[in-house]
Symmetry: C2
DNA sequence: GTAGTTGCAAATCATTTGCAGTAAT
DNA sequence: ATTACTGCAAATGATTTGCAACTAC
């Protein structure tokens, strides 16, 4: 079985890039953190155990993770780029609370089927998709 | 009948803000340009006829247009914020070509109904939604 | 040993803001 | 008159890059 770490090592090898201590630390940190962290947030988390790790290295490595297909870059309302692990092949979507910022992931095969059909109707070869629903979560709705 | 220009004047008046020559020029320019322009692109267009208009004024005015409900801010792959006019109440979605950058808008009441239902299932009060399908447009698909 | 990598600081890019002069109310 | 607005230049915040020292191969 191939773990995500193997997948990354493999990608690095195939591209003449090196497996370094920092890259492994960053990948580990990314995988064991909540989803949708920004590079800066991940950097701050990693700092705790690895005070010597560099800001730029985190940015560079997150780009590598995105290139290797392990992570996806996302932009929600704010200015920062956020990363989420790529879950096998199931697409998922997001509900985002305008008030508390909570991000809820969900999947829906009906939606997925409909989007596929839509892309096909426009002769588009689909690579990826983004669906975000913004509103107020149950907790933030005043009565 | 209320035009978009009236809507903007109205918004300004109600908020103790002033109707200025620059704001009218920027609104006109925005309305007569292709959709999905960034503030910078709009600024460059406006410059041609109004060499004295300021960069910051365009940014500030685009924010006003967004606040007044005339325009919406959007983020596609790149770093810039893009603006599109708000078309009455029909929601629309985007197909974006990874190769040539073309942006195609479409509407789909089936998708819309499904999204409403999904939000309701999570007890979310929906405010707005984003759906983007990325891929290759017919022209960019190599055979 | 060679080529890629790191960490720092400086650079960049989009956007925002302070301020003195100007214009709308 | 008063208060908001403009345009410039300088500031900011996120991200990128140049470079000399370092580390994986």
């Amino acid at each position: 079985m191939s773990t995500v770490k193997d997948q990354f090592r493999d990608y690095l090898g195939k591209h003449g890039l090196k497996v370094t201590r920092q890259r492994e630390i960053i990948l580990d940190g990314f995988l064991s953190s909540p989803s949708h962290l920004s590079a800066e947030e991940l950097y701050l988390r990693l700092r705790k155990d690895n005070p010597n790790i560099g800001y730029a290295t985190v940015y560079r490595t997150m780009k590598l993770l995105a290139d290797s297909g392990i992570a996806s870059e996302r932009h929600f309302g704010d200015r920062q780029t956020r990363y989420e692990p790529n879950t096998s092949e199931e697409h998922h979507y997001h509900l985002i609370c305008n008030s508390c910022g909570k991000i809820i992931e969900f999947e829906d095969s009906n939606i997925e089927a409909l989007l596929m059909k839509t892309a096909a109707a426009h002769d588009f070869t689909l690579s990826h998709q983004r669906l975000e629903l913004y509103g107020l979560c149950p907790d933030c709705q005043t009565i």
